[in-house]
């Protein structure tokens, strides 16, 4: 099978001089969980946001699910075609506050995939019960805790039956005691064979669930290793320093 994501020599800068992405090459295989780690400002968000066209890039090649994106100008329709097949979960959940939980999840299936409302709602309820929050279907986002909101956000992304899920620090905005309920949901997705790219600082999650760790600094890929190697015996001095820092916290 061809890779789900294939990025070759991606480069991007927001302003002159500072490279947010510096010659980044990476591929994600079907069913793989790629964990992206690195200090703040190292370009993790920028990288995964290029995967669904939220950010453009300046040079290099990018191919998502067999659709190749050009640097800079892409047809909007092409990007939307990718987005229908790639889900994304944000740090701040970004649920729609004026819609109920059920409406949050069924919006895209109804409006984008043109599904019947009944079918979409049935599917949404299944997803919600998988996330363990079926009882909240009629509530509004502000009535839910952060962990519950993030699980709704995952269900919303899953409702389009994506082939790839992108997570940008999904637990960083949560209270510590709420982190695991979200990570557990992601673990289950991984065991079901979902292809995922996860930006996170959760070492245990990365160790247990990650197939590979991508470590970035200053826009560059410092190393790509299996968790065993990365956490016990990182190849690079910079990686070891970073690990020491987050272990201290």
């Amino acid at each position: 099978m061809p890779p789900i994501v294939k990025a070759t020599n991606l480069t991007k800068s927001y302003s002159k001089g500072i490279l947010a992405l510096d010659n980044v090459s990476i591929s994600v295989e079907p069913g793989e969980v790629l964990v992206v780690m690195g200090p703040s400002g190292s370009g993790k968000s920028t990288l995964i946001r290029t995967f669904n066209g939220l950010e453009t890039f300046d040079s290099g090649q990018l191919n998502i699910l067999g659709i190749s994106l050009d640097c800079q100008n892409n047809e909007e329709r092409k990007i939307r075609r990718i987005r229908k097949r790639v889900g994304m979960v944000f740090q701040q959940f970004n649920l729609f506050p004026h819609l109920s939980i059920l409406e949050n999840i069924t919006l895209a299936p109804i409006k984008v995939q043109k599904k019947k409302r009944d079918d979409a709602e049935q599917n949404a309820l299944i997803l919600l019960s998988q996330m363990g929050i079926a009882s909240h279907a009629k509530k509004y986002p502000s009535q839910l805790s952060g962990g519950e909101q993030q699980r709704v956000a995952i269900a919303r992304a899953l409702a389009l039956k994506p082939e790839l899920l992108l997570f940008d620090e999904p637990t960083s905005a949560l209270d510590p005691e709420r982190v695991n309920e979200v990570l557990d949901a992601m673990r289950r997705l991984a065991t079901q064979g979902m292809s995922m790219v996860v930006v996170t600082h959760e070492i245990n999650f990365a160790k247990e669930v990650g197939d590979r760790i991508l470590f970035m600094d200053s826009g560059k890929v410092i190393e790509t290793s299996t968790p065993d190697i990365f956490f016990l015996n990182a190849k690079h001095e910079r990686s070891r320093k970073f690990l020491n820092q987050i272990k201290k916290k």
Binding site: N52, L54, E76, R80, R81, R83, K84, G87, M88, F90, Q92, N94, L95, F96, P97, H98, S100, L107, A108, K111, V112, Y140, P141, S142, Q143, R156, A157, L160
Partner: protein, 339 residues
Amino acid sequence: MKNRYKPIKYIKRVAFSNKLDSIISLTIISFGLVFLISLVKWVIFSANWNVVRLNLPLFFFGSFPNDQLWRPGLWISLFAILSFTTLWGPPWSWLRKNLPLLWVSFAPIGVFLLAGGCGLSPVESRNWGGLTLTILLTSCSAIISLPLGIALALGRQSALPVVKKLSSIYIDTMRSVPLIAVLFFGQLLIPLFLPVGLEINRVCRAIIAFTLFVSAYIAEDVRGGLQSIPRTQQEAGEVLGLHPFQITYLIILPQALRIALPSLTNQAVGLLQNTSLMAILGLVELLGIGRSILANPEFIGRYIEVYIWLAAIYWVICTVMALIARHLEQQMSLEKKDL
């Protein structure tokens, strides 16, 4: 809530909690009482309400043909029924779902009932007047300027430079011109710009002028709402593969309008009050009809009665509008209430 059952305690707490408070409260209350007593005395003993009593049909319907009075009558009753149902009606969901639709069709129904056609005998617009005309001017202008204002607000944020620039120029120009000038423009200049033979009646021209003016203010209120929606909402919609158009009308606008609702209410109340400016320009809406009645030698000098009466009508309508707006706000916040 608790205080409702202990009014005396409540009054004590808010008005007489210490010496200074008590002195201030007493002064205000005694001034208020003196004013109220003399007003009531005047209303009951000195005022001559004949000027209102004999002209009731004029105040409500203007010089609408006598045998057709049921038409504006029906329309104003519809207003009263709709308001009452919205505020205190039963919470049946089919009713609540269709109420907005009824409100939207309220203005077109009014135009049909007043102008006639399709089986109703036509009545010329110079016979429209009084409260009917005031409500007609307000509802028609409001119903057209809301979508126009939203379009302008979206235009001002558009990615297309031409659309953006034109919207900005329009909004800023309208907001720097006094309303009365726009109204004069509507009455005096619009006919000059129209091709010969095409004629728009004065009520229509007034509605156009109000719409042009108010939509610029609505646009700014809506823009305030739009700007307070975080950019991440847009992204969340994009990531789901929604079309930009869908993102705007399913995600951004509903939230922005909620935020803009209080200022939009102000615009609506302001619009109602500003329709009285048309009295200067010769329309006999509520204030205009009052002035023409005062010009009648039979009722000479009865200014105070007429103006108190007019003030009372305006007050009732404005209060109803404010109540409906508050009801709407509550409905909307109910849907996202914080527990």
